[in-house]
Assembly symmetry: C2
Homo-oligomer: 222 residues x 2
Amino acid sequence: MKHYPDPLALVDVALFTIREGRLALLLATRRNRDEPYCGALALPGGVIHVDEDEDAQDAARRVVRTKLGIDPPYLEQLYTFSGRLRDPRRWSLSVAYYSLVPQQVLEATHIEGLEFVPVDALPKLPFDHDAIAAMAIRRLRGKSTYSSLLTFLLPQAFTLPELHAVYEQVTGSNTNIAAFRKKVLDEGMIEPTGQRRTGGQHRAPDLYRRKGAGLQELKRTI
Amino acid sequence: MKHYPDPLALVDVALFTIREGRLALLLATRRNRDEPYCGALALPGGVIHVDEDEDAQDAARRVVRTKLGIDPPYLEQLYTFSGRLRDPRRWSLSVAYYSLVPQQVLEATHIEGLEFVPVDALPKLPFDHDAIAAMAIRRLRGKSTYSSLLTFLLPQAFTLPELHAVYEQVTGSNTNIAAFRKKVLDEGMIEPTGQRRTGGQHRAPDLYRRKGAGLQELKRTI
DNA sequence: TTAATAGTGTCTGTGAGACAATATCAG
DNA sequence: CTGATATTGTCTCACAGACACTATTAA
C-alpha cells in the first residue's frame, strides 16, 4: 500500500459588497513573508486549521472573521480549485467560498491592507484567483434571478427601488422596475415590514425584509 | 508561524447510468483491509495521488478508469465535503464528482464488487456518502430541465421518445411528450442526424445527437 | 402647485403544457 | 387495413417585460 504525500488544503473567499453603488470584491494585501505573492492583492484565504476548524466552511468563516471582524451573513461554497501548479509551494487544493455582506455592516471597517475593488476593475490576481473571482461573479449573477440572494447585500429592511438598483448593478441588465417589482413580490421571497422610509424628498417607499432567515430559491436546484 | 497538519484529501464519484430503465448509481465494495468500512458498499473514491493526478478532476477520472476501465463521458465537480469527523482516520476533505455514463458503454462491464443500484433503493452508505448521493441526485434532477445533461445517459444517436423516457425517469415527472419535444428542440441543444431508427414494429423514429461535444446550458448559470 | 420618485393596472409576446390530428411502420 | 407508435399543429395558461397611469412626498 503506497503512501502519498498530502496536498496543501486551503480556503479562499470572494466577498462581495456594494461600494458607492457598484458591486465590489474584497481584496487583501498578502502579509506573511513566508508565503508566496507577499505584498500582492489577492482574495483573502489561508490554510485550513484542523485543530480549530470543524470543516472547510468553518475555515472560510474564520478567514472573514479574522479579516473584517464580522461573521459573514451569507457564505456559500463555490467550487474547489486544485492542481499541481496553482500554488508554488506544492500540489494544492483550495475550497473557494463566496460571501455577501451589506455595505452598512462594513461602514466603519477601514482596515489597513484591505480594499474593496469594483468587479469590473479588478487587477490581475495571483494564483488562480482570477478564475475564482470570475466564477464567483458568474454564480452571483446567475443566482440573482431566481433567489433571494441579493437581499444579503442590503440591510435587513430595504426598499424595492434599492433592491432593483442592486439587481441592475449585479446583472448589468436594465429592466423596468414595475416588472421587477411584480416578479419579486409574487415569487414570495420578500415581504413588507409594514413600515415606510420617511425623510426622503419624495414619496416614502415601502420597506421590505427577506422572508425566512436563509436563502430562498425557486425550483431549479442546480 | 504555526504549522498545521494537512487534512486527508480524497475524491468520491457518484456515477449514474440507466439500468433496466431506472436511474442507478454505481456502488463499489470497499476492498483494502487498511481502510475504514472495508467490505461495505460505498461510492467509489480514494485519496488524491499527487504524483499522478494533475488536479482533483483528474483524480476522479482515474478512480472511474480504475473501477470501470473507461473514461467517463461526463464528469463534473459536485461539492466538497469536509470535516473533522466524516472520516474515522482524521480531518478529511473529499471533492465529490458526479458522472454520467450510457448503459451501452457498461454493457459488458460486470466487474466483481461493483453494483448498479437504483437511486430510489440505495442502502445506507458509509461516511457522508448518503449526503453526497443525495446532492448528486438533486443536481442531476435540477440540471435536467435546462441543459443537455441527460443526453450523456444515452448513446451518441438517440430518439426523442428515449430522451423523454430518461427525462421522466430522472425527474420523476410525467409530462407529455409533445410538449417535451417542442421544448427540447427549440432550446437547440440537440439536432437531427438525418437518420431514423428502422426495424421497430411501428413508425421509425428520427434520430438525434447532442449539439457540440460538451454540455449545453440555458442562460441560468448556477 | 410642482418636480421627482413610488406604486398599480393593462397589454403583449414567449414558452410550456394539454390535447387533437396526422404520419408511418409491421403484419 | 389495423394497431401501435412517432410527429406535427392548435389552444390555453402563466409569467416576464414594456408602458401608461395614479399616488405620495418635500419644497
